[in-house]
Amino acid sequence: MDRKTLIEIEMGRYVDGEMSPHERAALEKRLAAEPELRRLADELAALRPRVAEAMRAAAGSIEGERIWRNVAERIAARPSALETFLDGFRLFFQRRVAVGIAATAIVLVAALLVVNALVRHGPPVIGTASAETEVTIEYGDNPDVVATVDQDTKAGIVIVSVDGIDLSEVD
């Protein structure tokens, strides 16, 4: 570091009030003795407020720019109202589709079970078979068994007809 730079640093510390009283007294003694040094100190003192203001402005500008960049980035990252609506709609639709698929699957399974039961056993025969007689049919283990309920109005009785039972005689 050359002498001029050292002097400028020392003068900067003097102008900024960063010197100790002793250093300040010694420097002022030199300033009184050396007009060239006095002129440099005056110039620095005159420049200092403008430099500080420029630095503050620059700092402010940098900080402001950083803040605005942040805001801009956040705005850019943030979805628009339309996008939010579309996202919500997509999510809702996806959920509805999933629920719809699940419900359809359940209905299909239930329908298959009912059809299977009907194919195996015919329609369930439950309830009043006549004004006089009530008949309820329950099937057992043989899936081939099918029962139907008829009413012989002439004889006045209810007849349960059963198919699918092996009645072959055992010899």
Binding site: N142, I159, S161, D163, L167
Partner: protein, 143 residues
């Protein structure tokens, strides 16, 4: 006058003895087992009382296999053979308002093939027909 009073009492007792009131906790079942085929065209004379019931069932020849008669208390069951390895069972459940509730279960071997629940007025009857090339019929009378 005194003789007339005695006559009324005696007549009342006679009527009472001839038709004793049915016990509420008991029901009498008579099951007539009939074999039906299309080999021939006749009705077993023992089935004459059921002739009207048996006609137009898709079979022309009817033979009485047997009769099973029993009385059951509530929750009691009676099992009997029908044909081959097929058997049936009747369980008397209860009587409500002169209607007899009972179940008729049909078994193939040890497996239950069918269960029919009935509620029939006491004195009524019903029929179960096991259809096939040869048919078997159960005529169930309840008293």
């Amino acid at each position: 006058m005194r003789t007339a009073a005695w006559l009324v009492v005696v007549l009342g007792l006679a009527v009472g003895l001839a038709a004793p009131p049915a016990r509420a906790d008991e029901a009498a079942f008579t099951v007539t087992i009939v074999k039906a085929t299309n080999d021939g065209d006749s009705i077993d004379p023992a089935l004459e009382q059921f002739a009207g019931l048996l006609k137009n069932r898709g079979y022309t020849n009817f033979t009485k296999i047997g009769t099973v008669a029993f009385a059951l208390k509530e929750k009691e069951t009676r099992k009997f053979g029908v044909a081959g390895n097929v058997s049936a069972e009747i369980e008397y459940l209860n009587e409500v308002n002169n209607r007899v509730a009972f179940k008729c279960r049909v078994f193939e071997g040890g497996r239950k093939a069918l269960e029919v629940s009935y509620s029939i007025p006491r004195g009524g009857k019903t029929m179960v027909v096991f259809r096939g090339q040869v048919a078997y019929m159960l005529i169930i009378e309840i008293r």
